[in-house]
Structures are given as C-alpha cells and as structure tokens.
Amino acid sequence: MELRFTPEEVAFREEVRAFIRDKLPADTRERMRLGHKPTKQDTITWQRILNAKGWAAYSWPKEHGGPGWSAIQRMIFLEENLMAPAPELLSFNITMLGPVLVEFGTEAQKRHFLPRAANLDDWWCQGFSEPGAGSDLASLRTAAVREGDHYVVNGQKIWTSTAHNADWCFCLVRTDPRAAKRQEGISFLLIDLRTPGIEVRPIISIDGSHHLNEVFFTDVRVPAENLVGEENRGWSVAKYLLGNERTGIARLGTSKAAVRRAKEVAREVRTRGRPLIEDRGFRTRVAQLEVDMKALEITQLRVVSAFAKSGGKKPDPLSSVLKIKGTELLQASSELVMDVGGPLAMPAWQQELAALANEPAPVPDWAPAMAPAYLMLRAASIYGGTNEIQKNILNKAVLGL
C-alpha cells in the first residue's frame, strides 16, 4: 500500500495543468473564472484543442484514439480540467457514446462516428428519459417500428440536455411492445436530429437557463444501420453505458473551484464590518468543506484504483458513494458561493446584462454567477439516478439489505 502519488503521476498533473494554463482561450477562461457556464462554442473549441493533443477521448482504448492513460491519470486529467475551470468534455460523446460504440458498434459505425465524436464534429445528446418514466427507465414507450431498411420512430423524450445544441441523439426505443419483460424489446438507435419529424422544445430551468428539452418524434425515419447492438437488446447497451467507468462522477474539481471562488469573493465583500474571509463562521464552513473534499478525493482514488484493478470490468458499487458525496459537495459548495454573494446574488442579472448596450454594468463582475450554480445543481442529486436510488443500490449491492 502506497498512498502517495508517484513522481510520474505528480509530473503528469503538472503537464496537464500547464497545458490548460497555456492553451485555454482567454475569453473562455475569464467567463469560467467568474462562474459562468461555457458557451456552446467554448465547449467545441476547447474539446478540439484537447483532441488535437490526443486527450479528448481520454477514456477510449488507444486503437480508437484514446491516450492510453491509467485510471489515476484519467482522474487527474478530469480533475485538473474541472478545477481550472475549463469547459468539460461533452460527456455524451466521450463517456457515453464512445465506449458504447467501441463495445457494440459495427465497424462502419466506429469508423464514422468515433473520430467525429472525439472532435465534437457531432454534438450528441441522450434520449433515454420519458415523461412519467424518471428513475424507472424501463417503462419507456417511444416506439420504433421496422419498415424495410428503416425504423419509424414515434414518441417523446424529456430532460434531454443540450438537445437544442445537438446534431445527433442516441435513443432507447421500444421495438417489441409484446416482450415478456419490460427490459426486453428495447433497442438502442442513433438518430440524426435533422431528420424530418423531430421537434425540440426548450425546458427552462429554475436558474433561467435553457439546458433541457423535450424532444418529439413523429414518424421519424431512421436508417436500420443506425441500430447499435442487436434489435431488442438495447437494455444491455444502456446498462453498459450507465455502468461504465464513472471516474468523473463526483465532479470534485467543480466543488474545489467553487470553494476557491467563494474564498476569492469573500475577500471582496464585508460582513459585520470586516472582510467576509475573516469571519470565523465562514472560515469554519470552508474548513469543513475542505475536509470533506479531501476525504472524497481519497475515496475517489480508492474506487478508481479498484476499478482499474478489476480490469475495468465491474463497476464498483462504491461509485454510488462518489455520486452521493460528490453531489452533496457540489450542492454545499455552490450554496457557499451563493451565500457569499448575498443580496447582490439575488437579482436575475443575466437578463439585465443581456439588455445592456454600452452602459456600465449595475453590479460587480462577480455577482451574476453567484446563484445560478446553486439553483442548477439542485438537479445534481436528481439526475443519473437520484441520491435515494443510489442508497438503494448500496443497500442491494453492498449491504445485502
């Protein structure tokens, strides 16, 4: 047992950090430093820079364009990217579609889609959730009926993140409504969002942003060659996708960046006649978060190492611990940021600022981004299996209850 990073790992971290420092475009950097979300173009540009370096498809096998890193290296890379903070790699492309195609895709699918996914030439989104389904994924009802060399798709998806930015969508569809079990009769289809019959409607989130969508399919014709895996066996594909390496699940780098940001702004604002950074309650809250983040950092290393040791075959049920603690920390750190912002974080500045021309902004530059993450991250304990579901998983898979 050696609990310190090897010199090679330390050097790797330094290399990643230096690369991000040197190559992240200045305007993106500034937006993200202030806590704003990256624009669509920020994400595309940055992923292409990383892809040119050979780092974008960080978790794929070398023969499909991956860098051939160890699990610890992957973790270090993701964490540095989040901590910078730099735009995240589009997870639909990199951690979801990519590994699925590597495992289940035809040669043609691999050849066509993988390089384009790595380079974000295609922006993918995920069509799993449906109205009324929620955590009960297998109850999905969107139907795909085979007609000659096409499937004809009818139905509705919901909570489809970034569908309005996306070119393609990988979907779960029901191809056999008479299957004995609900998990059978589901297929995994790649759908070009420019196909006629698709309508994307925005869902506005409580932070005022447009991130989620409803996607409606009306007689959408999808070429049969866009089926991944076998017909009616899409559930295995989806399970593989969801059970995949979840190195990044804790998103610890985002929490670290948030705490760092809170401390920066706490030097600028005052409470009770002195800088907030000198307030004992604030300092104690930060110290506690730093304790919890340190613990999670090590837990994450343990899970990642164990996963790598297992040959990457079996997802560690302890990754539910990462999800639970990771989202708790995302929420607690964004809550800290909001509280530091105080009254100036309460106006919905984004609308106001958008309306301004050359007038001076009515607000310090740090203020607009102090609350949105708090609002948006309430979803962190909901998506990807609610934290309640994660506890059920721990009960079943670890505790035997």
Binding site: D136, S205, G273, M338, P347, L375, I382
Partner: protein, 375 residues
C-alpha cells in the same frame, strides 16, 4: 398565550384566501411575471379596497390599526400564492419607517395615501458594498435650505422601480460603520437627479438600483439618529417575510405530498417509499419549527425591550431560514426533474425562499450576531 384567531383575523384570512384562490392561480401569476411591471395594479386596488394596504396603518390615518399578528396572517397567505405586489416594500418597510419616524404631517399625508392605495413606498437603505451591515452607509446628505440634497447610490431596493415615494437613508454625520450620523429622508420618485434601474430578482419580484445625484430630499425623523428606526424597519421585514416563508412552505409541503401520492414509479406511487415518507415527516417537523419562529417574530415586533426584540427576531430569522432551506431543497428533490423547471410551481417557491433568506441578513449573519450574545 392564545393561539386562536380573533373574529376579525378569521375574517381577514378568509377574505384574502378567497381573493387569492380566485385571482392568483399559478398560470395567472405567470402572466403577471411577463408584464413589464411584474405585478398587478388591479389587484393592488383590490387590496386597498379590502383594507389590506392599511392593515398595519393606525386608524387615524385611514388604516385598520392592525398589529404584527394580522400582518403575519396576511403575509402567510401571500406566501402560499407567491404574491408579487409590493406589499413588503411599500406597506411593511416603507410604512413602518414613516409610521415610526414621520412627524404628524408626514404620517397623515403618506400613510393615508398608502392605505388608500394612492401612494407606493420603497425603503432604500442597502448599498452596493453594505451587504447586511445596517451601519454601512456611504450615501451622504447635505443641508440645503430647510431640506437636503442626497448623493450616492442604493442597491437592491425592493420594488424601488415602482414606488412613488422613497425612504432613503444617508449620512448626515460620521463615517462608514458608525452607528451615529445616519438619517432618513423622503425622496419623490420624480425628483431630479434620481435615476432608477429596475430589474427582476431571481424569484420574479422587482427591485432597483438607485443612483442619487444632488437629489432634493426631506428629513424623515430625527437627524443623525435613524439607526434604531432602520433596525425596527428591518425587524418588521424579517417578521413579515418569515410569515411569507411559512406560507410558501405550506404550499410546497402540500404539493410534495400530492406528488408523492400520485406520481407512479416502478408501478406504485413513489410515496410508498418509506425513505421518502420519512423525508416528508422531517419536512413537516422543520416547517412546524419554522412556523413557531415566525410566530415568535410576530410576537416580538412590538416588544419594547430592544435587546430582547433584536435577539428573538434574529433567532426567528435563523430558524425560518434553516427551515425554509430544508423544506424547499427537499421539495425540489422529491419532485425530481420537474421541480427544476420554470414551468412548475415548486421552483418558484424555492427561489422565493432563497431570495428571502438573503434579505435583511442571512442565516449565518444572524447566527453570528446571536453568538456575540451568548453568556
């Protein structure tokens, strides 16, 4: 000690509840949000007709002469429907300032107009740099004949965009953070040199940034000695918003229970999950503890002992803030994805509770004040 409503109070809540049930459905509210003003003049007039705008105004000025408990009941009803009209800003904050600090003529003129729905007030005290510190005032006032001229800026002034008259604090003496030397002034919304930039807060209610450049103003109350009045205005605001949070929690709890009972997953209502049932029970416990604290705040608004009053209202702010955070966060969580959307009511309640927590000093701020007093 008596927790029963008087007949008058029952009448008040009944009529308000009826009005809001009729006029303040979620969809109706959403269309109000889309108007430039962000609230309804028509309803404001109805509030005036019902006597709500004069509720805490002394009878001699055409008011109802009601007390903090009446305001609590009203704000609780407003909280259940997320009422957007400037009641807090105008009646509670502005009205309290004028009632406590104004001379007879000022009270007569302004409070009568307030009760009649003819005058809207706003309370412009906070500044860009002041956060929650009531003594952090940089705006200055210079005597100018019998009146004054104001110079400076005010930040996040609740409903400052629509007020007809503004109660503005400014330094007539002393430096930043000094308790002495702050005075209150009346400023006309149309006064030269006053610029207002209105905007929406994250919960859809309105506020404004004010910039004051040589603005003519009239002294309200004693010169240099406004801090005690400001403190009482803020205390009245805390008590009123505490009640509003209770109403919001009641609404969230009801919606959440309804959702737990009707939303199906894995072939049964999600409320069959004991873990979610216990969460709902914990929300209930938090809500009831918060309700008690809102009552405490109401009970204390008129308490003559300033220390006792300040201490207990700070406690109420902490207790209600914590209850509100717990209940609103869990209401979203138990709703899942739909709770995260603009289209659904839960997220609106969530944001109202969030905004209220960050008015008049947040939980940590008041807990720190209370920590000072431990002995």
């Amino acid at each position: 000690m008596d927790f029963d409503l008087t007949d008058d109070q029952r009448l008040l809540t009944d009529s308000v509840t009826r009005l809001l049930a009729d006029q303040y459905g979620f969809e109706q509210r959403k269309s109000l949000l889309k108007t430039p003003m962000g609230w309804s003049e028509r309803l404001w007039s109805q509030y005036a007709e019902l006597g709500l705008l004069g509720l805490p105004v002394p009878e001699e000025y055409g008011g109802f002469g009601g007390g903090p408990v009446d305001v609590m009941l009203l704000m609780q009803a407003f909280g259940r429907h997320l009422v957007l009209e400037p009641y807090l800003a105008s009646v509670v904050l502005g009205g309290t300032a004028v009632r406590l600090a104004g001379d007879d003529a000022q009270r007569e003129e302004i409070l009568s107009g307030l009760a009649a729905g003819e005058t809207k007030l706003a309370f412009a005290h906070g500044e860009r740099q002041s956060r929650y510190d009531l003594t952090d005032v940089l705006t200055t006032a210079t005597p100018d004949g019998g009146a004054y001229r104001l110079e400076g800026a005010k930040s996040v002034v609740l409903h400052g965009d629509c007020a007809d008259r503004l109660v503005v604090s400014a330094r007539t003496a002393g430096g930043r953070d000094e308790a002495e030397g702050i005075s209150l002034f009346l400023v006309d919304a149309e006064a030269p040199g006053l610029a207002r930039r209105g905007y929406a807060l994250r919960d859809g209610t309105r506020a404004a940034e004010l910039s004051l450049s040589n603005v003519p103003a009239t002294l309200l109350g004693e010169r240099d000695a406004a801090l005690p009045v400001i403190e009482r205005v803020v205390e009245a605001g805390i008590a009123a918003t505490a009640a509003e949070v209770i109403g919001a929690m009641e609404a969230m709890q009801a919606m959440t229970l309804d959702y737990l009972k009707t939303r199906q997953q894995f072939g049964r209502p999600i409320g069959d999950n004991q873990a979610l049932q216990h969460r709902a029970a914990e929300m209930l416990v938090a809500m009831e503890q918060g309700r008690s604290m809102a009552m405490l705040a109401a009970m204390m608004v008129e308490e003559p002992d300033a220390g006792e009053r300040a201490r207990n209202i700070a406690r109420a702010k902490v207790g209600v803030g914590q209850a509100g955070r717990f209940v609103s966060q869990n209401a979203v969580q138990l709703h899942g994805g739909i709770g995260m959307t603009e289209e659904y009511a839960i997220g609106h309640f969530f944001r109202r509770v969030m905004v209220i927590e960050h008015l008049f000093g947040d939980t940590a701020y008041h807990l720190d004040r209370l920590a000072d007093e431990v002995e």
